[in-house]
Amino acid sequence: MRLSKLERRSAIAGYAMLSPAMLVIALVTLFPIGYSVWMSMNTISSTFTGFQFQFSGFKNYGIVFHSSLFWQTLWFTTMYAAVTVVVELVLGLLVALALNQPIRGRGLAIAVMLVPWTLITVISAQMWGYIYNGIYGVLNYVLMSIHIINTPFLWLGTPTSATISMMMADIWKTTPFVTMILLAGLQLIPSELYEAAKIDGSSAWNSFWRITFPLLRPSLGLAALFRILQAFGLFDLPFVLTNGGPGTSTMSIAMLAYQAIFNNGSFGPGTAVAVVTVALVILLALGSLKALRTQVGEIDT
């Protein structure tokens, strides 16, 4: 691609204006990541005067990849991310389609819907902890008073029910976020397309799959990407709700890094876990971006 003189000049001006922001991003993002990578390749001892580094190459990574706990938390985090993101996308899309209709009280509905998203996770996790509590939890109370169960069920007591309970809390909190992105996407679709389809005799179902869904794909991809990135950093919800239990069955990969660094004082292996997570997240992000770009290309042609 060749740029004209004018275009080149405006490009230079553009980069010049961007550079302060880029510098800040480099300082707060690239430096910590780089420093973590450096830490993960050292044997680190804590002394009275600070950390002492001794270069040890990939030794810490060897420890991480030989740890069964690492693979277990990686599997848990991946599975958790996949399930919650898919459910949130489907639910979020349904809600967004409903809210896109010119119904009365739409503003109020959007405001109410956003409440879970605005709550701090640590607080909403405490709240869910009380809801799920086996002795005085409100969920057991409700289910028992309408005779769905006879004895209290320990929601956070088995790996499967604890995982599902945690997913519920996550879906409750994050679906509004997905809804907002999709709603914005829906409002970008020109209404003339639907009018034309109607004149051609297209059914609502057909219009959804032929118009709404393809044009909404960029927004869906964007929402999915944001959610996958967040889900891989899963920490506060299990930390408050289950502390990784029962056993270590709900321990996320970020919790493992925390456990290794701050409870065990194993700074090297702990940062190695974190670096592996970052690498994974970047790969996933690039993958989604690429998928998104080809989709956008298809739409253009």
């Binding site: 993002t29 009275f48 740890s67 320990l154 239990g245 409870n263």
Partner: protein
């Protein structure tokens, strides 16, 4: 269309960079800048030094402030600011590791678990007290405590109060049902079933079964009483022994028989305490403070109805069961800028006056030998007269790898209690993970 796409993609890439940066932010916080005590100059001018004391709640009745007030009256040039520590010892440790390894100068003095000297000594998170205090300072403590606060011959903590496990019981219920106070675990189970069967109480026995350090403490008591060990004399992990199977099978049977509610696997100290204080359980395993806690107006419905005895033993054994040694030391932050004031504070807190307040206003066991022996104090503190009768057992914490060892213990015991894996499987996994942890794998 084209335009919106470009905008969306720019937003995307910004999001990627930011999110990728979010993941490791807690790593860099290990290297956070030292806290600067801002108005320090102002205080120096007025001649008052302020030190920050991070401390967990002791018996929950304002005792800490009480002690600080006494101390400040005697030492008007030192002001002590209390900072609250979390109730979960693992969370407290994580906080202190991140602050102090990052070079923070605050807190100056902190209350820390008795099992920390190994790890905190090797990570240089605590000031080696024996290099700053004379030998005569340490002679005030009851035997064994100073050794417990040491790692490789260096003393890192000043013993503050001693803790051990006790059995608390509802004397009103036992009397009404004409039952003896249980001396064996089997008796406790039987008593509970009788009381529950008569609908006199909802649950029999509550304790700490959540996946955290507290479960390791409870486990050590059953394990040792059954004749088992975590490590043998040669330092090899031996937790998959028949004795361990006996101990864990019994703990699990407490739950399957309904004596202990299933919820126990999510119970830390506060939850077990609440169930007992609410009158929902006949028996409670808890530390010293539970005495005062269960006799405090406004938080307990069982005031005057509680008795305390040493923990039971397995049927066929003479004497009492085992009680895990817990308790808290006072540690000094090696980066503290007020060393003289810190040591003065520690000296008073572990001295006769401070320890007397601790032993009489709260049912804690003082570490100061003179206070511990005082018959008048013994009369006021029922826990104190029992502790000499009980067998004590220490956790295998004299190693920097202890946190990972304990994680291997409590996470697997918790899984077995939940019925998620068999008793044998849990012990086998625990044992191999303990071996891995002791081998310095670091994860």
């Amino acid at each position: 269309m084209k335009r919106t796409t470009t905008i969306a993609l720019t937003a995307l890439s910004a999001g990627v960079v930011l999110s990728a940066g979010l993941t490791p932010t807690f790593l860099t916080s290990t290297k956070q800048p030292a806290h600067v005590s801002a108005p320090a100059a102002a205080r120096r001018a007025s001649g008052v030094t302020t030190i920050v004391w991070a401390a967990g709640t002791i018996s929950g009745n304002g005792l800490r402030q009480d002690m600080v007030n006494h101390f400040e009256k005697l030492h008007p040039t030192i002001h002590v600011k209390i900072v609250q520590e979390p109730s979960n010892t693992n969370t407290t440790r994580a906080q202190l590791v991140s602050e102090i390894s990052g070079g923070a100068t605050s807190p100056d003095v902190y209350m820390g678990d008795v099992i920390w000297p190994g790890q905190f000594g090797s990570l240089h998170l605590a000031l080696p007290l024996s290099q700053h205090l004379s030998k005569s300072f340490f002679s005030r403590f009851a035997p064994g405590l100073v050794q417990g606060a040491s790692y490789k011959g260096v003393v890192y903590g000043a013993p503050f109060f001693q803790d051990s496990g006790f059995l608390y019981y509802r004397k009103d219920l036992l009397a009404k049902a004409h039952l003896p106070v249980p001396r064996t675990w089997q008796q406790l189970m039987h008593d509970s079933l009788v009381l529950q069967h008569k609908h006199m109480v909802k649950y029999g026995f509550v304790w700490q079964g959540a996946s955290y350090e507290g479960l390791t403490c409870d486990w050590m008591e059953y394990l040792t009483d059954a004749g088992g060990q975590v490590f043998n004399k040669a330092g090899k992990p031996v937790m998959n022994s028949p004795q361990a199977v006996k101990a864990l099978t019994f703990m699990r049977s407490l739950i399957t028989s309904g004596v202990t509610p299933k919820d126990v696997i999510t119970m830390q100290e506060p939850q077990a305490m609440t169930a007992f204080n609410d009158g929902q359980a006949a028996f409670l395993r808890n530390w010293d403070y539970a005495w005062t806690n269960s006799q405090t107006k406004g938080q307990s419905k069982v005031i005057g109805k509680v008795g305390v005895v040493p923990l039971p033993t397995f049927a066929g054994h003479a004497g009492t069961g085992y009680a895990t040694i817990g308790g808290w030391n006072l540690y000094v932050n090696p980066h503290s800028k007020h060393l003289a004031a810190d040591l003065t504070f520690i000296n008073w807190m572990t001295g006769v006056q401070g320890q007397t307040i601790l032993a009489t206003k709260a049912s804690e066991i003082p570490t100061n030998a003179a206070v511990q022996r005082n018959p008048q104090i013994r009369k006021l503190n029922p826990v104190l007269s029992i502790v000499s009768k009980t067998h004590l057992i220490a956790r295998p914490s004299q190693t920097p790898q202890y946190p990972a060892i304990s994680l291997a213990i409590y996470s697997n015991i918790n899984a077995a209690l939940a019925g998620q894996v068999s008793v044998k499987q849990a012990l086998q996994t625990a044992n191999s993970q303990i071996a891995q942890a002791a081998n310095k794998s670091g994860l």
